[in-house]
C-alpha cells in the first residue's frame, strides 16, 4: 500500500482500535462486575452461620436454668432430679457447640474466651460423673451445683459479650467488604456508563457522518441521474460480454425500445456487429468512433460513440456515449455536394481559362516566332519599327494570356516551381537593364541596389522570380512619374530568408487599397496610364507564386510619397546541393518534327535548322510513326495535340514498334502542360515535355538535357530503359494508395505479397518463356505501382529475341527489382 493511503487510513485504524478496545474493556468490566456481584450475592444468599447471638445467649440461659433447677431441687428432696439432669445435658450440648463449632473457632482464639471456656469445661467434666451417678450422691451437692452453674453462667456471659464484639467486628469487616465491592461496582458502573456514553457519541458521530456521506451520495446520484436522463447523448452500459446493463432515456429514444426491452438486448443488436467485432472493450479510450447503429424499426443510422471502461460489481463494465449523427452526416453530405458543385464550377472555369489561353497561345506562338525570324531579314528602318511594335504588342498579349493561365494553374494547384542555381544579383541587374527603356519613357530612373555576394549563390526558379519582380517593377513604373524605382535584394538570414524590395517614389497607395491590391482583377483608378493597365491579375499571381515558393509578400506605402513592395522567401540551395550540369549545345542531329500546325512547324523547323540540325517533317501522328519506322532519328519533336493520332499515341507506337527510332529521345510539345498530363506523356514514352511557346534557348537546353540523360548521342534499348527507369519513380505511392483504398488493406497486402513472390521466382530462375513472363510480371508491377520495374520488364520483353540485349536487360531489371524490393518490403513507410 502506498504511504499516502496508509496515512489516510491511520485515523480509521485508530478509531477501529479504540472501538475494539472500548468494547473489550466493556466486556471485561461487565465480566468483572458480574463475577463480583455474583460472588457477593452468593455470599449474601448463603451463610456460614446460625443465629450466633442465640447460640451465645442460649448457653448462658441454660446455665441459669441449670442453676435455678438445681436450687429448686435442693429445696424439694422428694422430686426426682430428672429435670436437673436434663438441664445439665442441655447446658452441656450448648457449651459443646461453643467449644467445637467451627463458627466459634475465631472466638475461641481469644485468650479470655479460651480461659472462660476452659473453666466451664472443667465444671462440666467434673459435674458429669455426678449427674450420671446415683441421685443420692447428687442430691447433697445440688446447692454447690447451683452456685457452680451460676459461676459458669458468668463465664458464659463474658464469652457471649466477647462473642458479640467479635462477631460485630467480623460483621463490620464483611460489611466493609460489601461496601468496597459496591464501591467498585459503582466505579465500574460509572466507567461503563462513561464508556457507553463515549461509544454512543462515537456511534452517533459515525451515524452522522454516514448520513452525510449517504446524503452526498444521494445528491451525487440524483445529479448524475438528472444528467444522464437529460443528456442528449444516449448512454449504454454493457458488461464484459456486451450485454446491456443500463441505459438512459436518450438511448431509449435513439434506439426506439422501451427501457425494459432495451435491457434484454445485447450491444450487437443495437450497433452493427461488423462494426464492433470485439465488443466495446477495444474501443475504450479510443476517442470518438463512428459506426452504424440499428433502430428498433430496422432502420440503420450513423452514430458516433466514445467508450470508457469502469469498475463493475464483478467484472469491468463499459460505458458508451452514443450520439445519433444522422443530421450531421446528412449536413456533411450536403456540404460536400455543395462543395463538389462549387469545385466543379471552379474547375470548369479553370479548364475554360486553360483551354482559352491555349487556343490563344498557339496562334500567338506562330506570330511571335515569325516576328523573331523576320527580324533576321534585311529590313528597312520603318519595317523594323513596325516589327518592334508588333512584337511588343504580341509580348504584351502573351503576358496577359500567361497571366490568365497562371491564375488558372494556381487555382488548380498546379503552379510549378522549378528551382535551380541562380545569381540573384545578375537577375536583378538584367531586369533593371531590360526595363530601363520603359522607365525612361515616364522620366523614371530604375536602379538596382548594391549587390550582395551571398545572393550570387541563390537557389530558385529564375522564371518565377523574374515574373514576380517584373510584375512589381511594372506596377512601380506605372504609378511613378519622374521619380525613382529601386530594386534591391537583401539576405536577411543568409539565403534562408531573402528579401526582395521594389521601392518607388510614386503616388503611393491608400490604406484601403493596400488591403485589396493582392486580390485578383484589382486595378486602381489612380493609375497614370490606364491604357497601359493590365488585367489586374499581376499582383494576385505574384502573391500565389510567392506562396508557392514558401514566401510572403507585403506592401508599405505613404500616399503621395511612394510605395515599398517586399517579398521575403527562402532561396537557400537544398542540402545535397545538386547542380544542373552545363549543357553543351549539340549540333547536327537528325530530327523528326511531328507537328500538325503549319506555323508552329515552320517556326520550330527554322529554330532547329539555325542550330544546324537536319529536320524531317511529319504533319500528323500517323505520318510521324511511319517516318520513325523507316529511319533512325537522333531526336523526335512531337506535338501532343494533333487530330487523328495524337502525340501520346504516336509516341507509344514508336516505342512499341521496335523500328530504328524506337529508342530515340522524344520531346513532347504542348500548350497545356499540367503536371498530371506531363506524367501521362512521360509514361507514354516521352523523354521531356516542352511548354509552348518554345524559344530557341529552351529548345536548345531541352535537347541537350534529353541527350545528356541518355549518356550518349544515340540510344541502345537497354540504356533507354535504364534512362526511363531512372526518370520513373521506383514506387508510385499514389497508385499504391489508390489500390489500397480500392481493395482494402488486407487484399492489398495479399496482392503485394503475391507480387513479391512472383518477382523473386522470376529473377531467381528466369523462365524459358522469358518474354511472356516478363510481360505478365510487368503487368503486375504496374498494378502495384512498381513503375521503374515495369519499364525495365517491358524493355526485357522487347529485348527477348536478342541474346546480347537480354543479358543486359535482365541484369538491369534485376537491379531495379532489388531496389524496388527494398522499398516494397518496408512499404509501411509509404505515405498512404
Amino acid at each position: 500500500m502506498p504511504p499516502i493511503l496508509a496515512r489516510q487510513n491511520m485515523p480509521q485504524l485508530l478509531r477501529r482500535a479504540a472501538l475494539t478496545l472500548a468494547a473489550g474493556l466493556m466486556v471485561a468490566g461487565i465480566l468483572v462486575l458480574g463475577a463480583s456481584v455474583r460472588k457477593e450475592l452468593q455470599a449474601l444468599a448463603t451463610t456460614g452461620s446460625d443465629n450466633i447471638e442465640w447460640a451465645l445467649s442460649q448457653a448462658e440461659v441454660e446455665a441459669i436454668a441449670l442453676s435455678q433447677e438445681a436450687l429448686t431441687a435442693s429445696h424439694a428432696p422428694d422430686v426426682p432430679l430428672d429435670l436437673v439432669r436434663l438441664r445439665f445435658d442441655l447446658l452441656y450440648s450448648r457449651v459443646k457447640v461453643l467449644e467445637e463449632g467451627p463458627l466459634f473457632a475465631g472466638l475461641r482464639t481469644d485468650p479470655e474466651v479460651a480461659k472462660g471456656l476452659a473453666r466451664v469445661e472443667t465444671f462440666l467434666m467434673n459435674t458429669a460423673p455426678l449427674i450420671d451417678g446415683p441421685e443420692a450422691q447428687l442430691r447433697p451437692l445440688l446447692t454447690r451445683l447451683s452456685s457452680q452453674a451460676e459461676t459458669a453462667r458468668h463465664d458464659l456471659r463474658d464469652i457471649a459479650l466477647q462473642g458479640i464484639a467479635h462477631f460485630a467486628e467480623i460483621s463490620d469487616v464483611r460489611r466493609e467488604k460489601v461496601a468496597a465491592t459496591l464501591r467498585r461496582v459503582a466505579a465500574l458502573t460509572v466507567a461503563l456508563v462513561a464508556l457507553l456514553g463515549i461509544t454512543v457519541m462515537a456511534l452517533m458521530r459515525l451515524n452522522l457522518l454516514n448520513h452525510r456521506v449517504a446524503e452526498s451520495e444521494r445528491q451525487t446520484r440524483s445529479r448524475l441521474q438528472a444528467i444522464l436522463t437529460t443528456a442528449l447523448d444516449g448512454i449504454l452500459v454493457t458488461d464484459r460480454n456486451g450485454v446491456l446493463r443500463g441505459c438512459n432515456t436518450a438511448a431509449e429514444r435513439m434506439f426506439g425500445y422501451p427501457r425494459d426491452s432495451l435491457l434484454e438486448l445485447s450491444l450487437s443488436d443495437l450497433v452493427m456487429p461488423d462494426a464492433l467485432p470485439g465488443g466495446l472493450a477495444p474501443l475504450s479510450g479510443q476517442g470518438l468512433v463512428q459506426c452504424q447503429a440499428r433502430h428498433s424499426d430496422g432502420a440503420a443510422f450513423p452514430i458516433e460513440m466514445s467508450v470508457s471502461a469502469a469498475e463493475g460489481p464483478d467484472s469491468p463494465i463499459h460505458v458508451a456515449f452514443v450520439r445519433n449523427i444522422s443530421n450531421r452526416v446528412a449536413a456533411e453530405k450536403a456540404l460536400r455536394r455543395a462543395h463538389d458543385i462549387a469545385v466543379a464550377g471552379d474547375q470548369a472555369k479553370a479548364d475554360l481559362l486553360a483551354v482559352m489561353s491555349h487556343e490563344m497561345r498557339t496562334p500567338l506562338n506562330g506570330l511571335l516566332g515569325t516576328l523573331d525570324l523576320l527580324r533576321r531579314e534585311e529590313l528597312n528602318d520603318r519595317m523594323k519599327r513596325y516589327a518592334a511594335i508588333m512584337e511588343r504588342s504580341g509580348q504584351l498579349l502573351l503576358r496577359h494570356v500567361e497571366d490568365v493561365l497562371g491564375i488558372a494553374q494556381a487555382e488548380a494547384g498546379q503552379l510549378t516551381v522549378l528551382p535551380e542555381p541562380l545569381d540573384l544579383n545578375a537577375l536583378i541587374a538584367e531586369l533593371v537593364e531590360a526595363q530601363a527603356g520603359q522607365a525612361e519613357q515616364h522620366g523614371n530612373q530604375l536602379i538596382a541596389g548594391a549587390p550582395e555576394a551571398a545572393l550570387a549563390q541563390a537557389w530558385g526558379d529564375p522564371l518565377r522570380l523574374r515574373q514576380m519582380l517584373l510584375n512589381l517593377i511594372g506596377n512601380a513604373l506605372k504609378f511613378t512619374e519622374n521619380g525613382t524605382v529601386t530594386v534591391e535584394a537583401e539576405a536577411l538570414d543568409g539565403l534562408s530568408l531573402v528579401e526582395l524590395r521594389v521601392i518607388d517614389t510614386g503616388i503611393g497607395i491608400t490604406e484601403v487599397n493596400r488591403a485589396r491590391i493582392f486580390e485578383d482583377f484589382v486595378t486602381l483608378d489612380a493609375s497614370y496610364r490606364r491604357s497601359n493597365g493590365g488585367t489586374g491579375l499581376g499582383l494576385g499571381i505574384t502573391r500565389r507564386m510567392v506562396q508557392a515558393m514558401a514566401g510572403e509578400i507585403g506592401v508599405e506605402s505613404e500616399p503621395g510619397e511612394g510605395s515599398l513592395f517586399w517579398i521575403r522567401l527562402p532561396l537557400a540551395p537544398p542540402v545535397d546541393g545538386a547542380k544542373e550540369p552545363d549543357c553543351d549545345v549539340p549540333r547536327g542531329l537528325r530530327v523528326l518534327l511531328v507537328e500538325d500546325d503549319q506555323i508552329n512547324r515552320f517556326v520550330a523547323r527554322d529554330m532547329l535548322e539555325s542550330d544546324g540540325h537536319v529536320v524531317t517533317e511529319a504533319t500528323d501522328g500517323a505520318k510521324g510513326v511511319a517516318e520513325a519506322e523507316c529511319a533512325r532519328f537522333d531526336l523526335i519533336l512531337m506535338d501532343v495535340s494533333m487530330p487523328q493520332m495524337d502525340g501520346v499515341r504516336a509516341t507509344r507506337e514508336i516505342r512499341a514498334g521496335g523500328g530504328p527510332s524506337a529508342q530515340s529521345p522524344i520531346l513532347g510539345l504542348t500548350a497545356h502542360a499540367q503536371p498530371a498530363e506531363v506524367e501521362r506523356f512521360r509514361n507514354a514514352g516521352m523523354t521531356e515535355v516542352l511548354q509552348k511557346p518554345v524559344t530557341q534557348a529552351v529548345l536548345r537546353r531541352m535537347i541537350a538535357r534529353a541527350l545528356k540523360a541518355s549518356g550518349s548521342d544515340t540510344f541502345q534499348s537497354g540504356q533507354v530503359a535504364a534512362w526511363q527507369a531512372r526518370s520513373t519513380p521506383l514506387l508510385a505511392s499514389r497508385i499504391r494508395a489508390e489500390l489500397r483504398a480500392a481493395v482494402g488493406e488486407h487484399k492489398f497486402a495479399q496482392l503485394n505479397d503475391a507480387f513479391i513472390q512472383d518477382a523473386v521466382r522470376f529473377f531467381s530462375a528466369p523462365p524459358d518463356d522469358l518474354a511472356l513472363q516478363a510481360h505478365r510480371l510487368a503487368g503486375v508491377a504496374a498494378v502495384l505501382g512498381a513503375q521503374a520495374l515495369n519499364v525495365q520488364l517491358q524493355a526485357l520483353e522487347s529485348a527477348a529475341g536478342n541474346p546480347e540485349e537480354v543479358a543486359d536487360a535482365l541484369r538491369a531489371a534485376r537491379e531495379c527489382w532489388l531496389q524496388t524490393l527494398s522499398q516494397v518490403t518496408d512499404g509501411d513507410t509509404e505515405s498512404r
Binding site: A45, T46, G48, D50, Q58, L86, Y92, S93
Partner: protein, 160 residues
C-alpha cells in the same frame, strides 16, 4: 407413659404403640395417631418408616458428617400430611416453623445417628433435623440453619 398407654388403648389408633423410649411426638393435623390425637415414635418405629443416609458438611461440626435417619417427607407421608406448616420444637423449647413444602425427597432428614453413632442429648441428640447442606446453596441460608433443629422432640402440624 401411663397416660399414653391408656389413651392408646381407648382410641382407634392406626399407628402401632411405641415400645421403647418415645423420641418424637407429632401433634396437630395428622391422619394417623397412636396416642390421644398425637403420634408418638420410638427409634424402632422411625426406622420402620424408612432409613435414609447422606453425607454433608455442617456449620456445627468439623469435616463431613454422615447422618442416618428418616426423611421428613417419608415421615409426613406416613402421617398423611401433604400441606401446611410444621412447628418443630426442641427439648430446650426452641421452636421454629417449617413449611410442609420443605419436606421433599432428598431434602431434610430426621437423623438419629451421626457418623454411625447414636447421638446423646449432650451431643445434639437424640434426634436432629438436618439438611443436605452441600447439595443446594439454598440450604446454606440462615433460615435453613434455624430450621435445623437439634434435640428435636415435638412437631405440631398446622393446616392452613
Amino acid at each position: 407413659m401411663c397416660m399414653a398407654l391408656c389413651s392408646g388403648s381407648a382410641a382407634a389408633e392406626t399407628l402401632p404403640q411405641p415400645e421403647g423410649q418415645v423420641l418424637l411426638t407429632i401433634t396437630g393435623a395428622i391422619e394417623s395417631t397412636n396416642h390421644d390425637g398425637s403420634a408418638e415414635f420410638d427409634l424402632a418405629m422411625l426406622r420402620q418408616i424408612g432409613v435414609t443416609a447422606f453425607e454433608t458438611a455442617t456449620i456445627w461440626n468439623d469435616g463431613r458428617q454422615r447422618f442416618e435417619g428418616v426423611t421428613l417427607a417419608a415421615l409426613l407421608a406416613e402421617l398423611g400430611v401433604r400441606d401446611g406448616t410444621l412447628n418443630a420444637q426442641a427439648v430446650n423449647n426452641y421452636s421454629i416453623e417449617i413449611p410442609v413444602d420443605e419436606a421433599v425427597p432428598g431434602g431434610p432428614l430426621i437423623a438419629w445417628s451421626r457418623n454411625g453413632k447414636s447421638m446423646s442429648l449432650r451431643d445434639k441428640g437424640p434426634l436432629w433435623l438436618v439438611y443436605p447442606y452441600d447439595t443446594d446453596p439454598a440450604y446454606q441460608s440462615e433460615v435453613t440453619f434455624a430450621r435445623s433443629v437439634w434435640q428435636l422432640n415435638r412437631i405440631d402440624v398446622q393446616r392452613p
